[in-house]
Symmetry: C2
Subunit: 301 residues, 2 copies
Amino acid sequence: MAARIGAPPPGVAVGIGDDAAVLTCPDGRVVATTDVLIEGSHFRLDWSSPYEIGRRAAAANMADVAAMGGRAAALLIGLVAPPDLAVADAEALADGLRDEAAQVGAAVIGGDSVAGERLTLAVTALGDLEGRRPVLRSGAAVGDRVVLAGRLGWSAAGLALLQAGVREGLLVAAHRVPRPPYELGPALADAGATAMCDVSDGLVADLGHIAAASGKRIGIRPADLAGEVVEGRALTEREVLGGGEDHALVATLPPDAPVPEGCRVIGQVVADERVGLVIDLDSGTKLDVPGWDHFGTGRPQ
Amino acid sequence: MAARIGAPPPGVAVGIGDDAAVLTCPDGRVVATTDVLIEGSHFRLDWSSPYEIGRRAAAANMADVAAMGGRAAALLIGLVAPPDLAVADAEALADGLRDEAAQVGAAVIGGDSVAGERLTLAVTALGDLEGRRPVLRSGAAVGDRVVLAGRLGWSAAGLALLQAGVREGLLVAAHRVPRPPYELGPALADAGATAMCDVSDGLVADLGHIAAASGKRIGIRPADLAGEVVEGRALTEREVLGGGEDHALVATLPPDAPVPEGCRVIGQVVADERVGLVIDLDSGTKLDVPGWDHFGTGRPQ
């Protein structure tokens, strides 16, 4: 895999090929996160190419770095490769990881590959806060606006189309390779975000995480979010509120904070009672949308 | 798993529970390495307890950090858990990871857990160089002494005993939970080590990596290494020269450098021709010991 990765960029003091890599951390801190993706649960080889799987595995992790207000700088890859994985497919997987990392100037700096039955990717992303304080889930305050960056429901709609036999189009492409708004994580942190997370379990579930960690109640207007039409197909409320693989970013911003270009206000932090709940701002009723379950094969991740 | 980990130690700005962790890097750099261990290839649940498997998975990675001259500070864990893994066993695994990390003051700061058929651990270790230059495999010079820290062959002998039905004793324990000489990695770096790696493929194979990366030929005296008797059993030459899971450290030191307490001289860097070879210093013949193949179920890792 090393040969597909290319020369290490500035900031990588030691790249692939030694006992460990060495990454410079000019900020004096490093953001670190790991995700595991397993064939059949998180991707399907008949629906996504190895290149797309590499892109997607990298994106899932780098979105977590963005959700802290950081920029991804490096990836380490743990690969379980079945014996029948073709060399060309392994190379395409590595190319996908490399190309998604390159979207933010990051690079693959290390990894390990073992033989096993089922294709599995454990990706660790390391990132730089560039002097920012990390934005946690726990800082939302009553009166803050809820701000969204990125797409909701596209990946879930693309999955529904794939399950119905469709193999192309914008929504299917969005499922195969998500487009997290990497740049808007640092932008939201700079704007003063009090809490942030990436939407990996679904908007309502992830806002519930912020609400619970912050000890607050959060309200949104589902009617404003649903109904987006893509290539003639309207996204459903279930897709928009419960879809989890677009890796949008959702943050809370103080009332007087600027809303970064490319973000939109979708709700507000309403109270510090009935904490952990996400409600419909118009009706006041609790929104109850199960977390995203990928292909319905296991528990929500 | 988070509940088993305890409070984050100093240096961990953000621990488990948010989108990502944040580790302080006072040195301005971070050492990073990933290993994947898969049930049946790297460990067996009938030969090792989940606690021991956690210890061992952490040790394999933290030894790589030591081999760069660093100290492990944090672990991230990607876990594939089969549906029949008991909660108590998952907790014991987490306890083992935590306790091995604690040997060097490190902590588990993040991870991801997914359902799958076969128990698999992808461990990423992050570490601190504390101002040292990283010790690569490529810096050995003619005239340097080859210095060993830690055990050779104990784990391989323990595996042979397990395969023969033995279930206790020092060698079996050494296979179940290796004892890498973590402190001696930084000590060898401070002493001026020109090259270093951990012995994970076997002494001859790993010295071959240093020899190849450095463009040198390296000589050792196998007769001086074999023959150690543990609990009445003499370690074989194959175990000592080819055994790979004790995670000893092997380094090259300039002739005038002090040999750190606890290390021993086992050979020297002899020439910059016939590079990449490891020879018997007495006979001059090439040592040909295959790399460590764990349970003989796959290629050497």
